[in-house]
């Protein structure tokens, strides 16, 4: 088991590895992140205009990005499971299943609102700041505040 409690409610971005990692080995995630951030900027996925075009059905671009990303992801996960591919450290690859709760509906709609306003999901916020849009630091801090507020009132919300 991993260490985040309330696991059945929130299994995003999980570390399923049992091995202890040093800061040095964490650098590999930094490198993947850099590569990812460059793709975000160069494909203009972090552009507010691209997100508006998507929701106005004025461009196929974002549908193409998300659709082809999912297609590559589905095929990759299928191959990993089918051939029982191990991690570089020799561990069995584990992916936590997602369990349904009403938060995926209510929270999903709220995130959709925020996505259309800011033109950014959490990942692009970090990349936008990197490109020099320093005011997005405020958006990021506000998103952290939103996450904190969710943690505070979580037990009172319908799930």
């Amino acid at each position: 088991m991993n260490n985040l409690e309330n696991k059945n409610m929130d299994s995003e971005g999980i570390n399923a590895s049992q091995k202890k990692e040093s800061s040095l080995s964490n650098l590999k995630y930094l490198i993947v992140g850099i590569f990812f951030g460059i793709v975000f900027v160069k494909a203009e996925i972090i552009s507010w205009f691209r997100i508006q075009e998507m929701f106005h059905l004025q461009s196929f671009f974002m549908y193409g990005v998300i659709g082809s990303a999912v297609a590559v992801g589905v095929i990759s996960v299928f191959i990993i499971k089918k051939f029982n591919i191990k991690t570089l450290q020799g561990e069995k690859i584990e992916i936590q299943p997602k369990t349904f709760n009403k938060g995926q509906i209510y929270g999903g709609l709220m995130f959709g609102f925020g996505w259309a306003i800011t033109g950014a999901c959490p990942g692009p916020l970090f990349a936008q700041i990197g490109t020099g849009a320093t005011v997005i630091i405020v958006t990021l801090l506000s998103a952290i505040a939103g996450t904190w507020f969710y943690g505070l009132i979580k037990d009172k919300l319908p799930h």
Binding site: Y29, F35, K42, E44, W48, P97, K98, T99
Partner: protein, 187 residues
């Protein structure tokens, strides 16, 4: 070669590269792709405030913080070394609609007429920068993931709750962008 990289990348290059992040993270360290969790880890590390949702060993998940710091650095590198000097090419219909709200400058990925330190002090800017960010942080955690955790990682693993979440992200986005945002933009 560098000239080609500097041009905006087409979707059929960007999408598969993003999709490849899923197996790369799994293979290099058994990590499930997901970005919004980083916001939770930041809360757990900096402001846990004795809230049970933030009491866990965030250090074990610190890979996620390295990952998002990398995304920030990727933004820096792309903007300063690989940048395309031209404005973002957008649909002329959208361009015309936005011009009606005074948004005419398409030079940045983040439109400076909406997101700037000056606009933060206006009602429109405050709603878009502060309220928008709050909804992103609250909504993603309530939904248990964002575009990466649900729409890409969850769907890649054929999880139907992630499909529900993704559909709700899109419905929320359509409603906001088409029905509510016009009122916010006219403020």
């Amino acid at each position: 070669m560098l000239e080609i990289i500097k041009e905006p990348w087409p979707w059929y290059v960007a999408g598969p590269l993003i999709g490849l992040t899923v197996p790369i993270l799994l293979i290099i360290g058994n990590k499930s792709f997901g970005i919004s969790s980083s916001l939770r880890h930041i809360c757990a590390a900096c402001i846990p405030s004795n809230i049970s949702f933030f009491k866990y060993d965030w250090k074990k998940e610190s890979w996620n913080l390295f990952f998002v710091f990398g995304i920030f650095l990727g933004g820096v590198i792309a903007a300063y070394f690989l940048s395309n000097p031209n404005a973002v090419v957008i649909n002329p219909e959208l361009s015309e609609q936005l011009a009606g709200y005074g948004i005419t400058d398409h030079t940045g990925l983040v439109p400076s007429q909406l997101f700037s330190w000056e606009s933060l002090l206006t009602l429109r800017g405050f709603i878009m920068i502060v309220l928008g960010g709050f909804l992103v942080g609250f909504g993603t955690r309530y939904a248990g993931g964002c575009t990466s955790g649900h729409a890409i990682m969850g769907l890649s693993n054929l999880q139907w709750p992630s499909l529900v979440a993704t559909i709700c992200f899109m419905i929320g986005g359509f409603v906001m962008s088409l029905l509510i945002l016009p009122y916010i933009l006219s403020l």
